[in-house]
């Protein structure tokens, strides 16, 4: 019972903070417009690249243009969502070193929630719009043998994808607990690795493939669902592991955070 009220309250506060932050950002109209379009535009370039490339060739390793764009759209959308709703994770180094963490710890709200919602990114909205457009376009341009399971799978893996992204980003940003300087180096580098997930992992050779699937599982965001939906390989249905992977990563991220936090609390900033 308590768990349900807690969750409801957390959700309420989450949307409250998100709405508040969005309101603040939207006041800077010019910036907001620029950010919205640049978010969409930068990803649009990725789409253009594939379009031009595929005017010359019919497929890459058996993957058609729209199948790859499908993967692209998922990376874009999940990235957009994290930038929009969970941008606060990127502020962790700042929070810790500027002493804002104390304020967070003095309030009766989960510190993770407070950190994630500390700020929001307008460019995330642009990313999500672009991601959604490409997602819909790719679904209508690809041949999928639909089944009840697959239809059910779509919302499941989209939610998992976003959760996986958030968990990885959050965990990476927890490096701020150990690295005293105010820099986002490690989370940025881990973020950069998502570029590999825009294409079939099998294209990259064993080492990178293993990295993408087992170590920093970006592959579960785009590649593995694509394999399942497009029936690329027999092991496709393993894609149903996505929600488990998401849960697993969320637990790890949470553990890392509290581990870092207890160290912070012991050494007294």
């Amino acid at each position: 019972m308590h768990f349900i009220t807690q969750t409801r309250r957390s959700l309420f506060l989450f949307f409250r903070f998100l709405a508040q932050n969005t309101k603040i950002k939207l006041e800077y109209k010019a910036d907001s417009i620029i950010l919205f379009f640049s978010g969409a535009a930068l990803q649009g370039i990725g789409f253009l690249f594939l379009s031009v490339l595929f005017t010359r060739i019919p497929s890459i390793q058996g993957w058609t243009k729209w199948e790859i764009i499908f993967m692209l759209s998922l990376i874009f959308f999940s990235e957009g969502l994290v930038s929009f709703a969970f941008e606060g994770a990127w502020q962790m180094a700042f929070l810790l070193n500027m002493g804002d963490m104390d304020r967070i710890l003095l309030r009766p709200v989960s510190p993770i929630l407070q950190i994630l919602t500390f700020t929001m990114g307008i460019h995330g909205i642009g990313n999500m719009v672009m991601g959604t457009v490409l997602f819909i376009l790719s679904l209508s341009n690809t041949i999928i043998v639909w089944s009840a399971a697959k239809i059910l799978f779509v919302p499941v893996f989209i939610v998992s994808a976003c959760a996986i992204r958030t968990a990885i980003s959050f965990a990476a940003n927890c490096s701020a607990f150990w690295i005293k300087a105010m820099s986002n180096a490690i989370p940025l580098m881990i973020f950069q690795l998502a570029d590999f997930a825009k294409y079939p992992a099998s294209m990259f050779g064993r080492a990178i493939e293993t990295l993408m699937i087992f170590i920093i599982p970006y592959a579960f965001i785009s590649y593995i669902p694509a394999v399942y939906l497009f029936d690329k390989f027999a092991w496709g249905p393993l894609a149903w592991l996505s929600p488990l992977v998401a849960l697993w990563l969320a637990c790890i991220a949470r553990k890392i955070f509290y581990f870092g936090l207890s160290r912070y609390e012991s050494t007294g900033n």
């Binding site: 620029i34 940025l188 950069q192």
Partner: protein
């Protein structure tokens, strides 16, 4: 004249030191560059596995093209862009303005500085990639090497001016990030860094032919692989040169507008 050069050289030297001091940002940039390159390399590798010849482009040539593209894209990096916006944000711009140096020229010197120190390391990295991937297509004679170096200078100048002009926009907005991404995206695509411009469909090809971005990657990389030479090269150099002049004056115009804004609004 010599005094002026000396003055701007100091900027360059300081910038070189600064880059090494900004080690962390530097590492992140390098990493980002490595990842981007690796992705592109594998994508093209997969493309060529299925299609050995693309409109005259073969895998060997493409490999060299990509490495030169990497080299040029990494030169004149974000450091310069953020430096301008950072100066504005922290108010250091006022100090800069009081110094007896032309801001645009000073910026160029500083960018040069960053580029030299970054460039050396990037060049080493590129040699490494060339070795690993077995890229063997290189200029065949001294003239081509010379033309390549000239085209690299054109590339740096063009890129600097683009970064500079876009960077000045931070006088009007607080989010340089968005502008920076836009510029980077546009540059990456239209400069031929991702796909050689020759492979673009005809309408796009015509458009990119007349844009300044071409000079940043396409021209130098194509000179390097021996694809661009003679008349076509001369023509491209001419267009690039005109663009540099145009951008230089555009830079001055925007600067003046920015100064007007500063004095009216008090920063």
């Amino acid at each position: 004249m010599r005094a002026a050069l000396k003055k701007y050289w100091r900027h360059t030297a300081l910038a070189m030191q600064e880059t090494l001091a900004y080690r962390v940002t530097y590492i992140v940039n390098v990493f980002s560059m490595v990842v981007t390159y690796t992705v592109i390399f594998f994508v093209w590798s997969a493309v060529y596995a299925g299609n050995p010849d693309l409109d005259g482009y073969q895998w060997q040539e493409m490999k060299s093209y990509l490495i030169v593209s990497l080299f040029l894209s990494s030169l004149v990096s974000m450091s310069s862009e953020f430096r301008i916006s950072r100066q504005i944000r922290t108010g250091n711009i006022a100090v800069e303005l009081l110094r007896p140096a032309d801001y645009q020229k000073a910026s160029l010197s500083i960018t040069l500085g960053y580029s030299i120190s970054e460039g050396v390391l990037i060049a080493i990295a590129c040699l490494g990639f060339a070795f690993i991937t077995g890229a063997t297509v290189i200029p065949q004679n001294a003239l081509t090497w010379l033309l390549f170096i000239v085209s690299v200078l054109f590339s740096m100048a063009t890129k600097f001016l683009m970064v500079y002009v876009f960077g000045l926009v931070s006088f009007w907005t607080t989010s340089l990030m968005g502008i920076s991404w836009l510029r980077r995206g546009l540059t990456d695509f239209f400069s031929g860094a991702l796909i050689p411009l020759a492979l673009f469909p005809s309408t796009l090809r015509t458009i990119t032919d007349w844009l300044p971005f071409k000079a940043i990657v396409w021209i130098p990389a194509s000179v390097f692989t021996g694809r661009l030479y003679g008349r076509a090269l001369t023509r491209d150099f001419a267009v690039a040169f005109i663009w540099i002049v145009v951008l230089w004056f555009l830079g001055r115009l925007v600067w003046k507008a920015a100064m007007r804004k500063v004095t009216i609004q008090g920063g």
